[in-house]
Amino acid sequence: MAEGRVVGIDLGTTNSLVAYMEGDAPVVIPGVDGSNLVPSVVALDPVPADGGRPTVTVGNTARKALIETPERVIYSVKRLMGRGLSEIQEELKYFPFRLADDVQAGEVPRIQLGEMRFTPPEISAYILRQLKRNAERFFGSPVTQAVITVPAYFNDAQRQATKDAGRMAGLEVLRLVNEPTAAALAYGLDRAKEGTIAVYDLGGGTFDISILKLRDGIFEVQSTNGDTHLGGDDIDNLLLAIALDEINAEHGIDLRLHPSAVQAVRKAAIEAKIQLSSEPSASFDIELPNGDRYQRVIPRDVYELMIEPILERTAGPCKQALADAGITPESIDEVVMVGGSTRIPAVRQLVDDLFHLAPRGKKPHVELNPDEVVALGAAVQADILAGASKTTEEILLLDVTPLSLGIEALGGTVARIIQRNSTIPASATEHFTTGVDGQTNVAIHVVQGERELAENCRSLARFDLKGIPPMSAGLPRIEVKFLIDADGILRVTAREQRSGKAAEIEVKPTYGLTDEQVEGMILDSFDHAEEDFAKRLLIEARNEADTILAAVDRAPSNPAWKLLSSEEQAAIARAKAYLIAVSGAPDPRVIRAATLALDQATRRFAELLMDAAVSTAIRGKTMESAGEELGDAVTAPHPMAAAEFK
């Protein structure tokens, strides 16, 4: 039954998740550390002593490296996906990463990470591979097919880059689903209803608004709008910039020259932001390199004034989406809130105002965890695609293309051929001819965007129609079919009609990798092989067993051990002996069951350790940050081993 499972993946700016359909409800699959969220952070471990290729780590482990080795860590890579050199340079002003110094114009920019260089899709592939592994560990069987979500406002290049990342991670991407649409699916599943809903999705780095009409299980997107450059990151960057400026002014220290200090301040800024969603104020207290302290209290009303310009930027896209759908705010029956940034009370107030909710006795929907709702919806879509499920057989998503597709015409103007908010798949057919006698090539420049001039739109690709039979100027009639597929990605085919010859098209994507490049970046092809997969599961299971056995060996020397009853100690000894006995077994499931049994037996001991740890080593920290420090290393999967963490 596990055969051919399709998972749903939310590849987020800040966090990523993988979910699947368990019976008739979507469920998030936790990682080894028990956490549903995998931080979208990728780190390069130090070069091994034997000089081999350094290991790449993902998630909480990678995030920890952010303070110690910031030059070997990358986060928020989603912001760099499908972008060109100049855009990335602009982006990097706000992040501590740097471009590889051998970057050439016209190729996909690579980021320098320690001594290695990676394209953004490769970084994303590492995150996807981690999610894939989490799912495989959970199911105990290979996972090769997935639905991945993208911001609705992602353009062609950003979508293609995401698909490329999937392929590099060994995943067949059955569909790219727009994040707000996925969220609507997650909410709409258990209620057979009709109406018009707006999905307001403010995540870490992107903002989307989508308006959908629900009828008979059909989710028909009416319009979508957004900003692929707007999110919680902007708030972090703002708070960070203010703090750095103040530190410089008050203490005469330019922390911008100290990457790891900047990361410490960024961490404090993020904590302050989170605190300000529930508390009336938050405070910074940071020790500076010269021993001074930077202390600052931010009351919520001041904070709200500071972030108002950022939040206000979501209003324009909302109004445009309403106008494009041809409706007024009053026609919106429900508003669904998605993305961690919608926890900010000022955001909820703004949404309330935009859609006139309070006067109509309505409230935005926040019942589902805003961090998980997109992944849950992706799991629903995965189930739809897998077919043969009663729960989802009546559901169908009809999404739209967020941006108009056009061709550069004479004088640099744009001739639109597919309007934005057209239901996809969508197509358009255009005819081209030659301007000179005997001309055998015609170049077509395809752009995406709403501006009048091609130079202000996003260049998608230059198509070179070749092999046109030599004829008098104006005589050839080349029919070119542009088709936007269900993933929102453009495909082009051409045919010379007078000769009936299929014209050869050479596509030069303005941004993006060629097929061969993607092929060369596939992370580890052995992931596909069943045998190697089993081997990996076995190695992982043995590692987990070794970790807990080592912790149990150390246990009697801990004062907490004496607090256990003799029965409890005996139970642990039995479970330990059993695990040792089976740890050489060839079946990873047997080892994992024994590991789990030992983990169960030591639960009370772990709790005692936790109490002791909380009261000493991590006193004064919130449970959240304690949890963060406690249970994230892959080698420390059990509460007990985790509690040993110093």
């Binding site: 569909r175 879509q381 739809i384 695609l385 077919g387 169908l396 103007t413 197509s427 358009a428 029919e479």
Partner: protein, 230 residues
């Protein structure tokens, strides 16, 4: 004109090999998806070309066909079926988008009947936009002067209330004209739907000039609205 369809017309179902007399997206015998073949946006919905369309029925049919054709239903099918599903659904979506919207529907039908009209003709020739309708010559001249004046005033940060009022008045007037055009178009729809070939030809010509007039007015309105709202 319409090359939305592949020219290859299969005579028999690729799956069950039973021949088909009419164009269809599914084999009537084995229900397998078929590649798009001859026909137009109206035949996709099993309609004859006409202009007064029952939109609710169109939507219901669109949903019914989407459920059967959409690529989501073929995620694990053969590559060939995937391709056909994609092509068929694109055709269905293009057809629905065109037919549900009154102006696009009218333009489409006129093109189907051989008239040269539509955005592709206006849009491709930006240097020479639609001719100014004779009855509007004077007004348009006056309006363009005012628009220039307004833009100049804006540039130096001034605002002339009288000019603003005058432009607003012009805007309302052109909006009313657009409404009149729409009403006339609707009359012609019924005329076309109910008539024989000779009457249809004259009705078509009327619609072509109404659409030209409408496009001209809309462009004008857009300029006025942009200038007022800037």
């Amino acid at each position: 004109m319409l090359n939305v369809l592949d020219s290859a017309v299969p005579v028999e179902c690729w799956s069950c090999s039973i021949g088909q007399s009419t164009t269809t997206l599914f084999c009537p015998h084995c229900s397998k998806i078929q590649p798009p073949s001859g026909g137009n946006y109206f035949t996709v919905f099993s309609l004859t070309p006409h202009l007064n369309i029952d939109l609710a029925a169109l939507e219901t049919e669109f949903h019914r066909l989407s459920r059967k054709l959409h690529p989501d239903r073929f995620a694990r099918a053969t590559d060939q079926e995937k391709e056909w599903s994609l092509a068929d659904t694109a055709l269905l979506n293009d057809a629905y988008r065109t037919l549900k919207e009154p102006l696009r529907r009218t333009e489409y039908l006129l093109k189907l009947e051989g008239s040269e009209i539509g955005e592709e003709f206006a849009g491709k020739d930006k240097a020479n936009p639609s001719r100014v309708p004779a009855d509007l010559l004077e007004e348009v001249f006056e309006l363009n002067m005012q628009l220039d004046e307004m833009r100049m005033a804006r540039k130096v940060g001034e605002e002339d209330p009288a000019l603003h009022a005058s432009l607003t008045e012009a805007k309302n007037k052109f909006e009313a004209m657009v409404n009149d055009v729409d009403q006339d178009l609707r009359k012609e729809w019924t005329n076309w739907d109910q008539s024989d070939q000779t009457v249809r030809q004259s009705s078509q010509n009327k619609m072509v000039s109404l659409l030209d007039r409408r496009r001209y007015l809309s462009n004008l309105l857009r300029d006025v609205t942009e200038t007022l709202g800037a």
